[in-house]
């Protein structure tokens, strides 16, 4: 299918594909997230590499049948390394007209549609804004369609089940899943088992669901789909061996924070205020109270940041999290953490703005805010995660740097990374090197701003420690005693020290590497954050075509890696694709005076691989 070549051979009459993109779409109440999740798991078990992306409606529960109530789940899976959830959709499951309406344009011109005709009533068509039936009026173009009255077929399959009509219809999504399982030659066993567990309290429902699943599968197997070859096989990918699971960015971030604090042997106090799309992190960590994690739902973002600072002051690691508008509210508090030189980790799960903007859409436009968004000269460390699983490593790194350098660290995630998922080899966390925190205990020569000569980090003396009683605050303090100081020369010295300390972090982070052996000349593509997947795939494809394209993907946004300037200066053409109006590009230009060119996309959606390929080709040709 698009973006994937059909492979030769294969068993049965199945067409072998290198990869495929499937999207399940229906009403919020249709259970599409669950359906997609199960398909993902079976796909992983079948040995494919994959990436998924759920697309929730902005509304909590929109009226049934409306376009804005459509919920979708997309999966891209293949026999090769999968980098994104897929540019375009090969197979769309549309549970009603609204789902078709919202998603049709994303389906390749020759794609396949699986449609519940039972839901294509006049009323539903009208609700979706269709004036005539798209299944018959030519709207679908050359796309192939499998029509099935899923509601009716599910009811029939469950006739004997003893379930009410309402309960029976709840199994419709399993019917659809069964059909897609057949289409991609998936095993049903583990889903059957799982249904038994999930509905343990309602065995009738479990049986009904299984019956629906089987009925959908049977529908595929039978002659009803004859005529066209709609059965595929996607061979297993060559994956590194290991124990795998699927992770979303939020999951990996929460585990990374736990891992970091566990390695530092310090308690985490996680303080947050709910906001889309950041709340997931709060929820995940709140569920770990029995593992020593303190979570605090503060009254607002300011309180969340300030309580995290208070926790760090008292000897825990304060972590706070939010999204753009909430992070804006934390700006003043970040200044306090910088001035008092306390460790703090702030996770920003970015969303589209400005202001409330598009809370459920993604964007990576808070880079300026992270690097520059405070009064005065107030530097801190900024790290960006490139993929769901990368959040794990970024969170550990953030914890390490915050503690080692007594500084706030901002980790940039985004709405895409937070909710997207990918398979991940579970790390052997118990074999990671520990970095236990060292609190100051010796009163000899102590004052709160004595510094480690190496890192320039001040001593961390924690209330409860006898003999180290001291006072800190937001007023400028004397470099030699920690007492308040209005001395001009001291302010200059402290300002310089604060800046040098952060600059020094560059010595403690890996040198910047290329994603692949670099080409000399041609175009260098520099990215950060969740553009990683599409950039990497686009660059690989172009390199596959023999074109001179290199890729650098930054984890460390501030301070920048010490060798970065040198790498950039090797290229005349530097392209910086960003889901903002060119923030990293501006930063790089200002730092290194290199002619970095911005490739900007700000429509709430990740870059398409095709888009990037075209943009890079254009730069190569010009």
């Amino acid at each position: 299918m698009e973006g994937s070549a059909a492979l030769d051979g294969g068993r049965e009459k199945r067409r072998v594909l290198e990869s495929a993109v499937v999207r399940f779409a229906g009403d919020s109440g249709d259970g599409m997230q669950l359906t997609g999740g199960r398909f993902t798991l079976e796909t992983a078990l079948a040995g494919n590499d994959l990436a998924t992306f759920p697309d929730f409606p902005a509304e909590i529960r929109a009226p049934v049948g409306t376009t804005y109530g459509v919920s979708a789940f997309q999966i891209n899976f293949g026999a090769r390394k999968i980098m994104t959830a897929g540019d375009r959709v090969d197979v769309l499951v549309a549970m009603n007209p609204a789902a078709l309406k919202v998603n049709l344009l994303d389906v390749t011109p020759t794609g396949l549609l699986i449609v519940d005709t039972g839901a294509f009533t006049d009323r539903n068509l009208r609700k979706a804004g269709y004036e005539s039936n798209p299944l018959t009026d030519g709207t679908l173009g050359d796309r192939r369609v499998i029509e099935a009255d899923m509601s009716q077929r599910t009811l029939e399959a469950l006739k004997e089940s003893g379930l009410s009509k309402k309960d029976s219809l709840r199994c419709k999504n399993m019917w659809a899943l069964g059909l897609v399982y057949w289409m991609f030659d998936r095993d049903r066993n583990s889903t059957t088992e799982w249904l038994g567990g999930k509905f343990a309290a309602r065995p009738d429902l479990a049986q009904g669901a299984v019956a629906a699943l089987n009925a959908g599968h049977a529908f595929g197997e039978t002659a009803e789909l004859s005529g066209e070859l709609n059965a595929y096989s996607v061979p297993a990918a060559h994956l590194a061996p290991g124990l795998y699971r699927n992770v979303t960015g939020n999951q990996a971030m929460s585990w990374g924070l736990i891992a970091g604090t566990a390695l530092a042997e310090i308690r985490m106090v996680f303080c947050s205020y709910p906001i889309t799309p950041a709340s997931g992190l709060l929820h995940l960590l709140a569920a770990q109270k029995d593992r020593g994690i303190v979570t605090f739902q503060a009254e607002d973002e300011i309180a969340a940041a300030c309580s995290a600072i208070g926790a760090s002051y008292a000897g825990a690691l304060g972590v706070t999290s939010s999204s753009g508008p909430g992070v804006a509210l934390k700006s003043e508090a970040l200044g306090l953490a910088i001035a008092t030189e306390l460790p703090l980790v702030l996770i920003n799960t970015q969303r589209a703005g400005p202001s409330t903007g598009l809370p459920t859409k993604t964007e990576q436009s808070d880079l300026f805010q992270a690097v520059f968004g405070r009064n005065a000269d107030s530097e801190l460390v900024v790290i960006a995660a490139r993929s769901p699983s990368d959040c794990f490593a970024c969170a550990i790194e953030a914890v390490r740097l915050a503690i080692k350098y007594m500084t706030p660290v901002i980790v940039l995630s985004d709405g895409y990374i937070a909710n997207a998922s990918e398979p991940w080899v579970l790390p052997e966390i118990e074999s990671y090197p520990k970095f236990p925190v060292k609190f100051r205990e010796d009163p000899e020569g102590f004052h709160p701003f004595v510094r480690d000569p190496e890192t320039l980090a001040r001593a961390w003396a924690v209330p409860g420690t006898p003999g180290l009683e001291h006072r800190i605050g937001g007023l400028e303090r004397d470099a030699d005693s920690g007492n308040i100081s209005y001395d001009p020369a001291n302010h200059q010295r402290m300002t310089d020290l604060r800046a040098e300390k952060i600059a020094g972090v560059a010595k403690d982070i890996p040198e910047q590497a290329f994603e692949d052996t670099p080409c000399e000349g041609g175009v260098l593509v520099v990215g950060w954050g969740s553009t990683f997947g599409p950039i990497n795939r686009a660059v690989s494809k172009l390199r596959g075509a023999g074109l001179p394209v290199s890729h650098i993907h930054l984890r460390h946004i501030w301070p920048l890696p010490s060798n970065l300037g040198g790498l950039l200066r090797r290229y005349d053409r530097i392209l910086v694709p960003e889901m903002n109006r060119g923030q990293l590009a501006t930063l790089l230009r200002g730092e290194y005076l290199v002619p970095a060119e911005s490739l900007s996309k700000v429509n709430g959606k990740p870059f398409l691989i095709a888009e990037l390929e075209a943009a890079i080709r254009a730069r190569l040709e010009s």
Partner: protein
């Protein structure tokens, strides 16, 4: 002060820091500092376990003058910082020091939530009815008509009552005292310290530079006896130089009045007895204002409940997370193995 000190009974000056005090000479803050130092000595506070957290303002300079741990944070946010401190280490003995602007203007929301959550701290609000540090603008507790640089023709805002606010917020310990009335202030501070949960204490403080004498109508020594009623749990609400005046509930109505004992047929049995567990009574006491009524001081309300930090601790397992736990967490749910 070092840990060794703990052996002998400490004195107030053991809790004084070595920093030069930078309040205006004659400021009421000195008297409060004195009372707090004495309180610390009297309760034999462990310096290493004691933390003073403040926001910004003249009042908020307080931590610098105490030799325990101290955190001078940002304007209005001391309650939030203190919450984090207690979440990280509930065993710390935390005092929050704040001004009327810090606590009730910019910081009103955090104070509300600290009080309703019942965080186990002492919260001292120095009410001088003015923004001292920023040179004398009116504050949310300034009475209407107050002329200041930002209200040259007189403020048109109705002030908030700190105590009424605290009661409305669900505070479980609400008290009042006056900077210069040392003995009473000390007694109130000790009760506040003894209370588990958020102890809210409003201290009427004189800013002699920008609002001199604003509390004189009841705080001045010359009128104190007649214009102050010191509430004590279980005791009749009596006042006056000759202790011949008292508060009474107007029969059948929800209003207080002052009566002269032994006159107009007022007997002992008519006198209202203070019940610090009755929030409605506390509200009525808090609402009394001179000149019509005396000002109620002391512990107006006290009704302990489980503190927030302790409830959180009870729900959370102790110590940092362990890598072993994390391994378990990550392995919960669906996993699969790819063989080499």
């Amino acid at each position: 002060m070092t840990a060794a000190m703990a052996a002998v009974k400490p004195s107030p000056k053991d809790y004084a820091s070595d920093q030069e005090i930078r309040w205006c000479p004659g400021c009421g803050d000195y008297a409060i500092l004195k009372a707090v130092l004495k309180t610390l000595a009297d309760v034999e506070a462990k310096p290493e376990q004691t933390v003073f957290v403040s926001g910004i303002g003249c009042a908020a300079r307080f931590p610098y003058y105490i030799s325990t741990y101290g955190f001078h944070t940002i304007h209005g946010r001391a309650p939030a910082v203190a919450t984090g401190v207690k979440l990280a280490n509930p065993d710390l003995d935390v005092w929050v020091v704040s001004g009327d602007g810090d606590a009730l203007s910019i910081g009103g929301n955090h104070l509300l939530h600290l009080l309703r959550r019942n965080l186990d701290v002492q919260f001292l609000l120095f009410n001088n009815e003015i923004y001292g540090l920023t040179k004398g603008q009116y504050s949310p507790t300034s009475h209407a008509g107050t002329r200041t640089p930002s209200s040259p023709t007189g403020s048109v805002e109705s002030p908030v009552s700190a105590t009424a606010f605290a009661l409305g917020a669900g505070a479980r310990f609400v008290a009042r005292a006056i900077d210069t009335a040392q003995a009473h202030l000390l007694a109130v501070l000790k009760q506040a310290h003894g209370h588990r949960g958020a102890s809210f204490v409003e201290i009427f403080q004189n800013c002699l530079v920008y609002n001199d004498g604003v509390h004189d109508a009841f705080a001045d020594r010359s009128v104190a006896a007649e214009m102050q009623v010191l509430a004590e749990h279980g005791q009749p609400l009596v006042f006056g130089k000759d202790r011949d005046k008292a508060l009474r509930l107007v029969p059948g109505q929800l209003t207080l009045e002052t009566v002269s004992i032994g006159r107009d047929g007022v007997g002992e049995e008519d006198i209202l007895v203070h019940d610090q567990t009755n929030r409605a009574l506390a509200g009525l006491l808090a609402a009394m204002q001179p000149p019509a009524m005396p000002v109620a001081l002391g512990v107006l309300y006290c009704d302990p409940a489980l503190s927030y930090d302790h409830a959180v601790t009870a729900q959370t397992s102790a110590g940092p997370a362990r890598t072993g736990d994390l391994s378990e967490i990550m392995r919960a749910g669906s996993t699969w193995t790819v063989k080499g």
